[in-house]
């Protein structure tokens, strides 16, 4: 099928995008790489009257490095991480994760901000950015506001973004030398979305530890007992409390699904040295 008719408005920068979205109100949508919205347009599930294209907005495609963090523009593409055209704040985690998103032709177009704004709970960036404790920079009419990753997604496909706001950037704290991460996603076929995701990030120098289970029907949930045990006693101790923590967090999920989530987190923990 072909999309409905719409006006295509390329934005030169984030401010112009916000202005265009404000001007056209409810009937406008923004697009960056179009790898989520494109199929929805073609199938006429999405029927915007106006499409504001962000992919050439100069302030959204750049990267700003500081001592403690890196801010990635919302229109930075998955392949930019995979090919290391942008600096990596997370000791190899961002290129590793990016290189396993969908397929190369999709990674060449799809963007970080687009994936996060689409807010599919199974998306890699949704899980990873929450695991890393990233902060999202939302640009609206009154300037930029900051929202922590874990507060951004309200429910599947529902975010903090107002209709005339864009996800202008993502600030990722730099992992220090002693940090480690583990990431595992269970996919039935290469490139498909995850059915169960485990994310582990430990950064002893910053006292930071987060363990998440993702690819749920809702945003990723923390496994706090596992994170506490991991920091205090190490990966093997974390493994010992994993099953109970998943059962508590996902109590109403069918057992077969919980098992899948347990395995995903267990494998993520195994990456950083958990042994039974």
């Amino acid at each position: 099928m072909k999309p409905v008719k719409f006006d295509y408005l390329p934005a030169r920068d984030g401010a112009e995008a916000v202005r265009l979205l404000t001007e056209h109100g409810d009937e406008a949508k923004c697009i960056a790489g179009g790898q989520s919205l494109g199929p929805m347009l073609n199938l006429r599930l999405a029927r915007p009257a106006v499409l504001v294209d962000l992919h050439r907005a100069e302030d959204l495609t750049g990267v700003e490095e500081s001592r403690d963090a890196i801010v990635y523009g919302g229109a930075v593409r998955h392949a930019d991480f995979e090919d290391r055209r942008v600096a990596d704040a997370a000791r190899g985690m961002l290129p590793f994760v990016a290189s396993r998103i969908a397929y190369r032709a999709v990674r060449n177009r799809g963007t970080l901000g687009g994936s996060l704004s689409h807010a599919d709970p199974a998306a890699d960036w949704v899980c990873v950015m929450t695991g890393l404790g990233a902060t999202y920079l939302l640009r609206g009419k009154k300037g930029v506001r900051e929202v922590p990753a874990e507060k951004f997604i309200h429910a599947a496909f529902m975010t903090e973004l107002a209709p005339n706001e864009i996800l202008a950037g993502v600030r990722v704290p730099r992992l220090s030398e002693s940090a480690r991460w583990g990431y595992y996603k269970f996919c039935k076929k290469v490139g498909e979305f995850s059915q169960a995701t485990g994310v582990v990030v430990v950064d002893p120098e910053r006292g930071y530890c987060r363990v998440l289970v993702g690819a749920l029907d809702s945003p990723p949930v923390p496994l706090e007992p596992v994170a506490e045990a991991l920091a205090a006693e190490g990966p093997t101790a974390a493994l010992a409390v994993l099953d109970a923590a998943v059962d508590t967090a996902l109590g109403d999920y069918p057992e077969v699904n919980r098992q899948l989530y347990k395995v995903a987190v267990r494998r993520a923990l195994a990456r950083i040295g958990a042994t039974r």
Partner: protein, 388 residues
């Protein structure tokens, strides 16, 4: 919606030549190549970015031409299968596809060749497994993968001859090995999150009933009086607008949206309230004229006093169904996440109104930020939309 979007001039480089044309905003790169330039070697299979048949190169990188808007290619350089003749790797791949029987019906071949050329350029080492992983986004329905993989391997073995002056590819990212350094426990000072229980999953069943319970810090009588007043309660439902009431019949409009999908259901409903038991039922059905989708739903609710008379609990059981185009975008379980969020907003709105506050028309303060939908029916192609 504007009915006559203007055509725009598009200029780009295709297969080494500057071309231009008049395109609509909605024209895809694939349609521009095929319909305007007669470059029909770019095949359209699924037309929503899944099958890979339309893969072409843009600025040297493979992209899906069916989900790339033509106007997003302004000033770019595109190469289709017709433009590959002078490329040594492409020529070698075409020979190898014939030699190793990687062609079969030929429909996926143009996209396959573009993807395979990229695989050869981007790798320094290449196992058969790696070839198969990298070809995961190109579907051959003749299932001729063995021949295709063999063809890629045979060309890769000659990579250095074919690409004498090529730039060195970036090594594919792998996980670091942490073994060298022992893990040292530390005091956790950061990263804590509020522990939450994920909303119940629908799992794989088709049960479309939802039970929710919300607690309101008001006496039960007061809450019941409010809940049984449709003119006050309907606007508390996110996205809902009461159009008219006649006896126990009402006319309601409900705007729901899920990401880029938006629908406005308009329809009729009925309600029944029992003041003795503080139980009620509302039901209705409506249609979204734009998408041609229909929705129906019913909600039973009860107000139960709790903790003396300081607060009460509202329990409701909702059932719903959506048919038509919108029902295609879904997967089991998501609906409970939406409805859970909607219940929280509804509860917030009820609290606000009961405390003397106001809820803005069309469904409450939260709606400008958070919009919702209720459409979930499991369907076989749900996974097709789940992409980044």
């Amino acid at each position: 919606m504007s009915t006559k979007p203007s055509l725009s001039e598009l200029t780009l480089d295709v297969n080494g030549e500057a071309v231009s044309g008049q395109v609509e905003g909605r024209t895809s790169l694939a349609d521009f190549l095929r319909d305007d330039l007669d470059l029909t070697g770019t095949h359209l299979g699924c037309e929503h970015g899944v099958c890979g048949a339309c893969t072409v190169e843009m600025d040297g990188q493979p992209v899906r031409a069916c989900i790339t808007l033509a106007r997003a290619c302004e000033g770019r350089s595109v190469r289709t299968i017709e433009g590959g003749d002078d490329d040594p790797v492409m020529a070698a791949l075409q020979e190898a596809f014939m030699q190793f029987h990687g062609l079969q019906c030929g429909f996926c071949t143009p996209g396959m060749l573009v993807a395979c050329r990229d695989i050869i350029l981007r790798h320094r080492t290449l196992s058969d497994e790696r070839i198969r992983i990298a070809l995961g986004g190109n579907i051959c329905r003749c299932t001729g993968y063995v021949g295709i993989v063999n063809a890629v391997r045979s060309v890769f073995e000659r990579r250095d001859q074919l690409l004498a002056d090529a730039t060195e590819p970036t090594a594919p990212p792998e996980e670091p090995a942490w073994e060298g350094t022992p893990f040292r426990p530390f005091k956790r000072r950061a990263g804590q999150m509020t522990a939450v229980t994920a909303p119940p999953s629908d799992g794989d069943d088709d049960d479309q009933t939802l039970r929710e319970s919300i607690t309101v810090r008001k006496p039960a009588d007061e809450v019941w009086a409010f809940l049984s007043d449709v003119e006050r309660v309907v606007p508390c439902v996110p996205g809902a607008r009461l159009l008219s009431v006649n006896g126990n019949e009402l006319e309601v409009e409900m705007e729901v949206s899920l990401g880029a999908i938006r629908a406005r259901f308009r329809g009729n409903g009925r309600f029944h309230f029992d003041d003795q038991t503080r139980k009620g039922r509302m039901e209705g059905e409506g249609r979204d004229a734009r998408s041609g989708s229909s929705a129906s739903g019913a909600m039973d609710f009860a107000v139960i006093a709790d903790d003396g008379d300081q607060r009460c609990r509202i329990e409701f059981v909702a059932s719903y169904s959506v048919t038509g185009p919108l029902s295609q975008f879904s997967r089991g379980g998501l609906v409970k996440s939406f409805v859970g969020a909607m219940a929280r907003m509804f509860a917030d709105n009820v609290q606000t109104v009961l405390s003397g506050g106001q809820v803005s028309e069309g469904g409450g303060a939260g709606l400008s930020v958070v919009r919702l939908t209720l459409n979930v029916i499991k369907s076989w192609f749900q996974s097709l939309f789940r992409r980044e």
